[in-house]
């Protein structure tokens, strides 16, 4: 592992802060141009402080704290993402390891991949008779494709050198899967998961706007109905930050499982 110097960290932090300053500057500019129809950062900050002062209050079905909304969304995303990955990884392994699997499944992947989550929603409602189930369904089905594709790519690019080890020493199918195929494909699988969780997090907001109930997406829609643009902007910032954290977490995971040239 290479160690990161303090100077490097300081540089990265400085760049991040500069980047945020640009964002705030643009935001302020837009607010001025729209004659404060879009709230400026300062007034949003006030609302933000109010919202996070008591994030877990619960005054009935239509009035819950932002923390409850956020965690409810995170729960749905994790469930949908986990279910999607449970389908996606074996499917990718099958596609990557056999020509038949690739030829049979790839057209399905190519056709279903570009379908919008919103198009799946009615089918989800029909199948699960509940908006919560439908939301989880659309997260699963729209987020699994990057994992499928990256897993398949990882498996299909196992070098002959590694395959020959399995052949020469008579590895069983299970040993080949667990000791050669999965370890080699793991960094690729994690790349797929990283892209998939990104999609899942994008989809949740759209899903919850349709489904209603509790969740950060519902919170955005509810704030629009209550004409509180500040609350919408706060939600956007929270959504963005959580997305960033997801990405960082999977990036760290990826670095932890990269065995090459250590």
């Amino acid at each position: 592992m290479k160690s990161i110097s303090i100077k490097e960290i300081a540089t990265n932090v400085a760049y991040f802060l500069a980047s945020m300053a640009i964002l705030l500057g643009l935001w302020q500019l837009i607010s001025v141009i729209t004659k404060a129809e879009i709230p400026n950062p300062a007034s949003t900050w006030i609302v933000f402080k109010e919202l996070i002062a008591d994030p877990f209050y619960d005054y009935g079905p239509n009035d819950k704290g932002i923390g409850i909304q956020l965690f409810s969304s995170l729960g749905r995303v994790s469930t949908g993402f986990a279910l999607g990955s449970l389908i996606a990884i074996p499917m990718g392994l099958l596609m990557g390891s056999t020509k038949i699997g690739m030829n049979l499944l790839n057209p399905i992947v190519q056709i279903l991949r570009p379908v919008s989550p919103l198009a799946w929603f009615p089918l989800g409602l029909l199948a699960f008779k509940a908006s919560d189930g439908a939301t989880i369904f659309i997260i699963a089905i729209t987020s699994l494709w990057p994992t499928v594709i990256n897993t398949a790519f990882g498996v299909s690019s196992i070098p002959d050198d590694h395959k020959n080890v399995g052949k020469a020493f008579g590895f069983s199918k299970w040993k080949y899967l667990t000791k050669i195929m999965l370890p080699f494909a793991l960094p690729h699988i994690i790349t797929g998961l990283r892209l998939s969780i990104g999609i899942a997090w994008v989809v949740i907001v759209a899903g919850e706007m349709l489904s209603g109930g509790v969740g950060i997406g519902f919170f955005v829609w509810d704030s629009w109905n209550g004409l509180s643009l500040e609350r919408i902007l706060v939600a956007i910032l929270i959504i963005g930050t959580v997305g960033l954290l997801f990405d960082k977490a999977f990036n760290a995971l990826q670095n932890a499982f990269t065995w090459e040239k250590k």
Partner: protein, 285 residues
């Protein structure tokens, strides 16, 4: 797998190891031709080769780069299927790789995500199915000790030098106790000093097993071939390579690396191999 061999049955003729000519063939290559279909048509790597290797013999395949010696050896390992002809190893027609033939690959082929210990253990676990877990671990420990890698057993291959990786690959091949060992330019990437000590290690391992293992190695190093082998197979240049000549090395064993270079037998074999491999000895100007 059709030809899984019980490792305990392999060491069965220790008493007559010195009577090599009385032994059965460990490997029988019969009229083997290997052709590959490429973009520019069919390429024939080796053509109509026949070769017998007796049990317990060390045979070196020698020739210029690209002469098909690796291809020929891969027909024994089962990695390459002959286009015509057949290879018989331990009495069975070779249909694919099998644990009765241990392979040391040219580029070591260690799994980079596993420690030295795990690399050997997985092979042992896969081949020696009848042994208990404790016995398997004992085998791995034994062979790691034999190649002097005990202090490095928890390292990943990426943390090892070329010579160490080579020793891991050799330990892995020996640990599954195959009756035939196939070495593809095993010492090619090593410096002269490491190479010399690896030769001795290899012979030590061979001796420890009463010289019962048959070893086929690909090399382009004449000195290495003479020092190690009972028989040197010189190949013509490809494509469609054939055997040019089989030279017997009658030097008595154990051989001493320093002393044999003065042996008249060594000198004459060396000269013979040189002239077989190189037509011209000086640059005409």
């Amino acid at each position: 797998m059709t030809n899984i061999v019980n490792p305990n049955q392999l060491v069965d003729s220790a008493s007559d190891f010195h009577k090599i000519n009385s032994r059965e063939n460990a490997i029988d290559i019969k009229n083997v031709t290997v052709s590959f279909n490429g973009s520019k048509g069919t390429f024939t790597a080796v053509k109509d080769i026949s070769l017998e290797v007796k049990k317990g013999e060390i045979v070196a395949l020698i020739g210029h780069s690209g002469c098909g010696k690796s291809t020929l050896m891969n027909t024994i390992s089962g990695m390459v299927t002959p286009s015509s002809g057949e290879v018989i190893a331990n009495g069975n027609i070779v249909k694919g790789p099998g644990p009765d033939r241990g392979i040391v690959f040219q580029n070591y082929s260690l799994l980079p995500w596993m420690s030295v210990y795990k690399n050997i253990y997985e092979a042992v676990d896969s081949v020696l199915k009848d042994k208990t877990s404790a016995e398997k671990h004992a085998v791995v420990d034994h062979y790691i000790q034999m190649v002097n890698l005990t202090p490095h057993k928890d390292k990943l291959p990426g943390q090892l030098s070329g010579g160490m990786k080579q020793r891991v690959a050799i330990a892995r091949a020996f640990a599954i106790n195959p009756s035939i060992l196939l070495l593809d330019e095993p010492f090619g990437a090593l410096d002269a000093l490491t190479k010399g000590s690896m030769h001795i290690e290899l012979l030590k391992l061979w001796n420890l097993d009463n010289r019962n293992k048959t070893i086929v190695m690909v090399t382009h190093d004449i000195e290495e071939a003479i020092f190690l082998a009972d028989k040197v197979v010189v190949m013509n240049n490809g494509p469609a390579a054939t055997i040019k000549k089989i030279v017997d090395i009658k030097l008595p064993r154990p051989r001493n690396k320093k002393d044999i270079t003065h042996d008249p037998e060594y000198i004459s074999v060396h000269d013979e191999l040189l002239s077989l491999l190189f037509d011209k000895f000086s640059i005409e100007d």
